[in-house]
Structure formats: C-alpha cells, structure tokens
C-alpha cells in the first residue's frame, strides 16, 4: 500500500509542476502586462513601463524568470504582488479561510439535500415523488449560481429583507464581541452556502439516486430481502454502505466544480475569498499572484483526487487486495 501511495504522490507532484509551468508560460504569453500604463494622461508611458520591468525583473529572459520563481517557491517565498506590493502568501492566507468556510458550508448543504432526497427518490423509483425529485434536480443543475445568487439577494435582502445582501460581515463589524461576530458571519454565510449547495446538489442528487438504484438491483440485496430483513434495514445496512463508495470518489472528482462555483459565488455575494484575489490578479496581470493561486487550485484538486482514491481504496476491500 505504501509503494502505491508513494507512486501516487510522486505522480501528483509531477502533475502540479506541469500545471503550474503551463500556467507560467500562458500567463506571460497572454497580451497585456502588469506594468502597462493604463491611465490616459501621463507622459513618458514607454519609459515608465521599461523602468517597472527592470524593477520587477520582467525584462529578463522567460526561462530565467521561471527558474528564479521556482527557486524562491522552493524556499517558501511566493514573492510580492506586482499590483499591491503585498506578500502573495499573506494575500492568499487572508482569503483562503473565507473560501474554505464557504466551500465546506456549501458542500454540507449539497449533501444534506442530495443524500436524503436521492435515497428517497431511489426507494420510490418510478413513483410520482421520484419524477418530481428528478425534475427538480435537473432544474437545479441547469441554474447558474450567478443568476440564482442575484435573484436570492434580490428576494431575501431587498424585497423581503431578512438576510444580508452579500459580504461576510456587516459593515464595520470588527469592533463587536467574538460571539456577535461569529453570529454575524453565520448569518452572512447562509445565503451563499444555500445557493451554492442547492445548485451543486442538483447533480449529486442524481448520482446518489442512481448509485443506490444500482446497488439495490444487486443479488446480495435480493438475498437480504429473502432473509426477511426489513426494507429499511436492507437499505441502511447493506445497500447504503456500498452505494456510498462512489460518493467518496465523487467528492474528490467534483472538487473543480466546487472551486469554480466558489469563485462565482464570491463575486455574486461579495465574499472576500481566494476567487476574488484570483480575478483581480488576472485583470491586472499580477503574475506572482496568478501563479500562486493556480498552484493552490492545482494542489487542492490533485490532492482531493488523491485523497478520494485513497479513501476509496480504504473503503473497498477489493481494491486493497489488488494494490497490496
């Protein structure tokens, strides 16, 4: 098992390196640069750009910049943002907990909706409830987070103002006590997590339903029923355990979708997360920040997949035997 693990780890690291190097090349090849003078009135624009290029080392050959960047990252130094001069690691470190909070909350909502409804639909296959749930899941799956988010804000923060219109905290909330601040964040978390979770649940729900139906059609289920076990026990003890195996994998595989969704949700709900940092960096061609956030995303996705595969191997004894 450990040889397998080492091989997978090595492959994962290699993959992260490939993704990040590709990003480096693409980002430098894209039109526009972080030192382009954008304002329309200043004179000496060309001179100014050259001056800044020299200061930031952007006038060096690309491979030199690349190796330099790799070397500093290996030292743990992600550099300073070209736009703000702030340490990149800190910019991301400030925003990452906010993104994780939203992502985890959204995932909780996603499974809180998808699991019960998926199981319910599978157990009532063919009945009206099943059709209704399937139609509902298709609707949710098709709805863009962006649109649903805007509508949710319009309804719950304006037409019937019970929730805040975005952001993570109330204006100037830094001064309140800790419990008050926790409550404040929780309140602000409700709408974005619900919107994201519900949209994501659209596809997960179908997966749960189909996975369970698959398992329910297996021989050992018929055996369990023949033994006289109650339907509830059949589903809970025998079917679900096996149906959950692919769910674990699903968590890892849908990580990119989750990250995409989080970025969109952060814009719509003015949530101060990594997605916003990334977008601002892309708009200003802030190379160090773009590279750092891309590396982070790549690591998360690849690590997520690795963890899902390992968890799968842990849960499924068949896999364990093969890879020993």
């Amino acid at each position: 098992m450990s040889r397998y693990l080492l091989r997978r780890l090595a492959a994962s690291l290699l993959l992260v390196w490939v993704v990040v190097s590709l990003t480096f090349v693409l980002v430098h090849a894209a039109p526009g640069s972080p030192v382009r003078v954008l304002g329309g009135q200043a004179g000496g624009a060309a001179e100014q750009e050259r001056r800044l290029e020299r200061i930031y080392g952007l006038d060096r050959p690309l491979h030199e910049q690349y190796l330099d960047w790799l070397a500093s990252v290996a030292r743990g130094d992600w550099g300073a943002s070209l736009a703000t001069g702030r340490p990149v690691a800190r910019m991301i470190g400030e925003a990452l907990p906010n993104t994780l909070l939203l992502a985890v909350a959204a995932t909780c909502v996603e499974y809180a909706v998808a699991l019960p409804l998926g199981i319910w639909a599978a157990r009532r296959q063919g009945k009206p409830a099943d059709h209704l749930i399937r139609a509902g899941s298709l609707l949710l799956y098709s709805v863009p987070i962006f649109w649903l988010g805007l509508m949710a804000i319009l309804v719950f923060a304006f037409l019937w103002p019970v929730l805040p219109p975005g952001h993570m905290t109330s204006p100037g909330a830094g001064a309140a006590s800790l419990p008050a601040r926790l409550l404040d964040v929780g309140l602000h978390l409700l709408l974005p997590a619900l919107v994201m979770g519900v949209v994501l649940a659209g596809s997960t729900l179908r997966f749960v339903r189909n996975g369970l139906l698959d398992v329910l059609g297996q021989d050992y289920i018929r055996t369990a029923r023949a033994k006289g076990l109650s339907e509830g026990r059949v589903v809970r003890v025998h079917a679900l355990r096996n149906a959950l195996v692919p769910i674990v994998q699903l968590l890892g595989l849908t990580l990119p979708t989750l990250l995409n969704g989080v970025v969109v949700a952060e814009v719509v709900f003015s949530w101060p997360g990594v997605g916003r940092v990334m977008i601002q960096a892309l708009n200003s061609r802030d190379y160090p920040v773009i590279l750092a956030t891309t590396t982070l995303a790549a690591v998360l996705v690849i690590a997520g997949n690795l963890a899902a595969d390992l968890a799968h191997a842990a849960v499924d004894p068949r896999l364990r035997r093969r890879t020993a």
Binding site: A30, P31, G32, S33, R36, V37, L38, G39, G40, Q41, A42, G43, G44, A45, A46, Q48, R51, L52, I55, A80, S81, A83, T84, G85, R86, P87, M91, E94, A95, L150, M151, L154, V155, A157, F158, L159, W160, V162, L163, P164, P165, G166, H167, M168, P171, G172, G174, A176, A180, L187, L190, V267, V268, S270, P272, G273, R276, V277, I279, R285
Partner: protein, 553 residues
C-alpha cells in the same frame, strides 16, 4: 454604530417555498424617460454631526501609498480622505484651495515657487507637519526606484529647498503654465518621520509596510482595511479644520457585481453608489430610499482612428466616418438626458472650451460624397464600398464589460452600413485592448479619455508621444507647436486662445471621432446630504457631507 437587526428564523422557514420573482431589474433597452434629475436636495437643514456612511464600490483599494498604484481612481479617492496635498483644485479649475500650504508666491522670474505651510498641522502621532515632509515627498516622487507613474510632471523641477520648518521652495529650470498644479495638487504629502525608514528600493515590494507605519493628517483616519472586503475610515480628531468632518465613520465596501450595488442602495445597506448606469435611474427615482444626483465627467468617449494606416490616414475619410455616425441618436438611445455630443477634447462645462467649434452634423450624403471622392465606390453592389478591390472594412476595438460602448458599436455599425462602410466591432478583454492599442494594431479604438486639469494634451496629440498615449499616431506640426506653447505659457489662463486654436485644428483633422461626454449618475441615500461630488472626485470634500440621524436613534 448599530448593526441592522435581522430576523433569521423567518428566513429559514420560508426558504424552501417556491418563489415568484417580481420586479427583477427593470433593465430595459430604452433610455430613461425622466428629465434631468439634478440635485434633489432641497429642504435639507443644518448639517448633523455623526453617523456612518457606507458606499459600495466595485474594486478594492490597492495600497495606502499612492505612488505604488496604477491609475486606481478609488485608491486616490480614499487616500485623499486621510492624507493631504499642498493645495486642492476646485471644480471650476480656476482657483486653488489651500490645504497643507496656506499661501504661496512666485519669484519675479517665476522660476521659484515658495509655499508657506499652515502652522499647527500635525500627523496623527503628534509629529508636526513640516517642510521636511514636502522635501521627502519630492524625493519619493522623483525616485527611479519608486517609479511613480506621474513622475514626469516634475521634469522641470531642479531642486526643492527647505527654507525653514514651514517654508519650502521649488526651483524650476524654466517657468511654464502649470507649475503649481504639477508640484502641489497632483499628489499628497507623505510623512517623512514615518516613511523614510524604508529605502526607496524596497518600496515596491513591501506594500504592507506602509499600512503598518501609516500616520495621517487628513479629515479621516484609517481604522481597518480588510482586503477584497471593506475599508473603514473614521473622523481624525487631530485634523486641523474645526467642526469637520460631520461623519463619524465612512466605510467603502467592495461589491464587484453592479446589480448588487443597486440592490444595496435601494435596501438602505449602502448610502452612496458612485456609478450607476442609465438603466438604473428609474428604479432609484421610484424608490423612497434614494435619489439620483449627477455631474458631468471630465472626460469623453471617442473613437481614435489609426492615423498611420490607410485609408484612415486620410482626414477626408475620417471626416466622412464622423459625418456618417448619428451621434445624437447614439446619445439619445444609450444615455437619454445624461450625455451630450461633443466636438473636441474640451467639453462645454470646462473653461477652456471653444464654443465656436461645433460638432459635425449627421450628414450621410456628404459622407458618401467624401468617400466617393477618395475613390471608394460600391462596384459590386454588396453594400460595401471598395477601392482597388479592397472593401472598406473598419475594425473598431473596445473593452468588454461596458454596456454603453457595446451598444454604441452596434448602432454605429448599422449607421455606417448605410454609407457603405463595414464596421467590424471587436470587443476585447481590457488588457488585451490596451495592448493592441499601444501596438497600433487597430483601425479604430472606442475608448474613454480623461482630460487632465493641466490641459496638457501633449500626451494625446503630440507626435513625440506616438509610442506612448498618442497611439493613434496623430501627427501635425502645427498642433505640436501649439501644445508646446500651451505648456510654455506663463499661466494656464494665458493659454486659453492657444487651447481654442488646438480644438479648431483637431476638429478639422478628425483624428478622433468624438462621441459623447456623459454624466456620472450617483445613487444617493435620501438621508445623505451635502454631497459635493464633481469631476474632481466622487467623494470630493467628503468632510462636509452629512447624514440625517436614523429614525428612533
């Protein structure tokens, strides 16, 4: 300061219910029907001291050190609330308001400009503001390691002399028209005692250091900056002016999605939104929480033609294109009463405007004649003119995300089609558009230009700047001389006739088809009064703005 009360339990109960969404974004395509919404602030009584003003803006600030930022409007607005320049410009642009400098005078040969600093002004840590701060700031402005974007404004300054703690003199190589503006109004004065500790070579890579060592002398001070989230300012108790600011707190919240800015304004979560679009006006005017206030922007939207690329190198062809665009219809459809057609880079509300330069009319007949005379005829009857087999295709690039410009493109394409010109719109990501503009890889660029208060148009029209901001490649020796003369004039007022002549020639040459000057549409809470926003800034003189107390408080 209280947090708005919420009722979460009701929300949770009703969330699962199906919803019929009413009155979603009235975003029609038509222009707003309302008349000019001017300043509906009548009936406001004496300013009330206190309160917290919240504004929603689409981008975050970048740094508390304005020398490190790339043209960020909101950044300089926020910095101007906490740090002071020597002088402030006033909306009419003809007078200056003393700030850190109480008075100033020129030597007889105008090569020395001496400022007398206001006594008794202190930084927020108690250190007095002195001439040493000014000298230090000048060093920062001109340091090649700091590489300030606008450092060129100080090219004529030879040296800065500290005469005594409250007297500082700028020595110029030669006098010219905008000496005061260049050294005293362009940027704020920095705290020498706090910021000289970091060598200039490390300024660009240590953004957080300035935050940690920030001291201020403006009407407000910085309480906190949560990146991508909000900037919180509060009244600075050591500010030199008595009685102001009225506001206790000013909070700028970053709201990237414009639709949300409007929602927040209407729900009362935000008290001020600096930039709404014409489609939003009706909804604000119909609400009872907010109103619209407007002012003319100090800029214009125009198509810059590539004057180095045939057939646009021919002024007659450019003239024909302008004649073939119905600019009044553009303005009426897109902006309604909130923009006007202009004929030159100096719009009617600025003092240097040449009223004799009238916009070219919409005259497709004359346009066709001009094109035909230049050899462009529609031989094959496909609706597009050709010359020597080449069709008259004009590619105009613009940046995405600006609804008004995209709408204009569509309308112009239709209008130019009628005179046999095939306009190909190309909507690009902003940086990409800027790149192509600087590389002169376009037929036309549809963009916005800001007019400098120095009226120094060299950077847009001088042939020496063709590799810079004169990327359209315009070159006219008469204009070059005029631009240099404007700069060399003793004062800007003396340059008036020169600027008038400049507008005439530019109008004749049509290197740009000037489209419109628009109004800034601001959403203002009905509780907010004394709003003095103008073309100098959306938060101009924020210290005099005030909020009515909320009910029951």
């Amino acid at each position: 300061m209280t947090i708005r009360p919420e009722t979460p339990s009701k929300a949770l109960a009703a969330l699962l219910a199906a919803l019929l969404l009413a009155a979603c974004g009235g975003g029609g395509d038509g222009a707003p029907a309302g008349g000019d919404a001017g300043t509906a602030d009548a009936g406001a009584s004496a300013p009330h001291r206190g309160g917290r003003m919240v504004t929603a803006y689409s981008t975050d600030i970048v740094s508390v050190n304005e020398l490190l930022t790339r043209s960020s409007v909101i950044n300089s607005e926020i910095i101007r609330r906490i740090l002071l320049p020597l002088v402030d410009e006033t909306p009419g642009l003809e007078e200056l308001e003393p700030r850190l400098a109480e008075s100033w005078e020129f030597s007889d040969d105008r090569r020395t400009l001496t400022f007398h600093l206001r006594p008794g002004v202190e930084w927020s840590d108690g250190t007095p503001v002195t001439a040493d701060d000014v000298a230090f700031t000048y060093d920062a402005w001109t340091s090649p390691e700091v590489a300030w974007e606008d450092a060129n404004a100080l090219d004529e300054v030879e040296r800065v002399e500290v005469i005594d703690p409250h007297t500082v003199a700028f020595h110029f190589a030669t006098p010219y028209s905008t000496q005061i503006l260049d050294v005293a109004a362009g940027a704020v004065i920095l705290p020498r005692h706090a910021w000289s500790a970091l060598p200039f070579s490390e300024w660009r890579t240590n953004g957080d250091w300035f935050l940690d060592h920030l001291v201020v002398n403006g009407p407000f001070r910085l309480v906190s900056w949560k990146p991508q989230d909000e900037v919180v300012l509060e009244r600075n108790p050591s500010y030199y002016e008595e009685g102001v600011p009225y506001l206790d707190q000013f909070i700028m919240r970053v709201v990237p999605e414009q639709a949300n800015q409007l929602t927040q304004l209407l729900s009362g979560e935000a008290d001020f939104v600096a930039q709404l679009s014409p489609d939003d006006v009706n909804r604000v005017e119909e609400s009872d929480t907010a109103r619209i206030e407007t002012h003319w922007t100090r800029g214009y939207i125009a198509i810059g033609w590539n004057c180095t690329r045939p057939p646009l190198d021919d002024p007659a062809v450019r003239r024909a294109l302008t004649l073939g665009i119905d600019r009044q219809t553009l303005v009426d459809s897109i902006w309604g009463p909130y923009a006007r057609v202009i004929a030159s880079p100096v719009p009617p509300d600025l003092w240097a405007h040449n009223g004799d330069v009238e916009p070219l009319p919409y005259d497709p007949t004359q346009a066709s004649e001009l094109l035909a005379a230049a050899g462009w005829e529609d031989g094959d009857g496909d609706g597009v003119r050709e010359r020597d087999g080449t069709p008259l295709v004009v590619e105009v690039i613009t940046n995405s995300g600006n609804r008004q410009r995209e709408d204009a493109m569509v309308l112009m394409q239709e209008q130019l089609r009628r005179i046999g010109v095939d306009l190909e719109p190309q909507v690009l990501e902003f940086n990409t558009m800027v790149e192509r503009a600087y590389e002169r890889d376009f037929d036309g660029v549809l963009s916005g230009w800001t007019i400098p208060t120095t009226f120094d148009f060299r950077y847009s029209f001088h042939s020496a700047e063709i590799d810079g901001n004169n990327f359209i490649g315009y070159s006219n020796p008469q204009v070059d001389t005029l631009l240099e003369d404007v700069r060399a004039a003793p004062t800007l007022a003396d340059a008036g006739p020169l600027l008038a002549r400049l507008q005439e020639i530019v109008h004749r040459d049509q290197p740009y088809t000037f489209l419109w000057q628009s109004k800034r549409l601001m959403g203002v809470s009905n509780r907010l009064h004394g709003v003095r926003a103008n073309h100098l800034g959306s938060y101009y003189e924020l210290r005099y703005w005030w909020l009515e107390p909320e009910e029951g408080r």
